[in-house]
């Protein structure tokens, strides 16, 4: 174990946990990209044409 990691454990720092980080970022990016795509596709010129 490297010295920096030993120090981190000694101070009580939470170790690992990247699976939570990737879950938070992955789901957020997926939802935001899907929402952006829905917004773009919902405002295409053909969809914005007023019904006569």
């Amino acid at each position: 174990m490297d010295p920096a990691q030993t120090d981190a454990i000694a101070t009580g720092m939470i170790q690992g946990g990247w699976e939570y980080v990737w879950a938070a970022y992955g789901v957020s990016w997926a939802v935001l990209l899907a929402f952006a795509a829905i917004a773009i596709l919902g405002a295409t010129p053909s969809r914005l044409r007023r019904t006569p």
Partner: protein
Amino acid sequence: MKSIRWEHFVLAFGLVLLGVAHAWGLFYAPPEAMMGDVGRILYVHVPTAWVGLVAYTAAFVAAIGALWTGRTGWDAGIEAFAEVGVVYNALLLFQGSVWARPTWGIWWTWDPRLTTSAVMLLLFVAVLVLRRTVESPEQRLTVSAVATIIAWVDVPVVYFAVKWWRTLHQDFSSPETVSNTMVSPLRLAAFGMLFLGIGIAALRWRSAYVRLADQSDAPELPDAPAQLHLHPDREA
């Protein structure tokens, strides 16, 4: 009609800023002193919260404008900003729950900040559902504007919950409470999330406006038999 609009550029700019900020936060910023790498959720969670509250506040302003003027543009604003707020709010609760598990040891607790945030989501989902259930454009404008104003009352409660009550949730995240090494990626992520939100809201506003204007301009269906009987001479 142009196929590329300013909203697309704003949206793309927001995505680029957010991508750079998140790469910075994930791979270059130092781990948080107590939370370690889990603390990196900060760069997605806090900007989501800020922009969600801004979107709800924009919906509140649109609601006042709609009641004041009765114009379809403001009514479409309620819908667009409430939609953005609801998506950001749902993400906020998800990210918070994922962050709570390794740091607090639980997925959820009825803490004032968490509870008021969940209530805020339910209130604005109710606004959007209400808009779908009222058919008359005039009634929909009035009812959804009033509902939006009532729902917005929870927004400052969410913001100040960490000050008003003793909560498990940490205090406001700002340059004063966040380490210098974390401020820049956090600020960049906030601007990225804001531009992305503006781009999406503007596009949703445009499509909502066209749909609502169509509904407002649609002629009333005539009560054909009664009219024919009342004015038979006009048909000749």
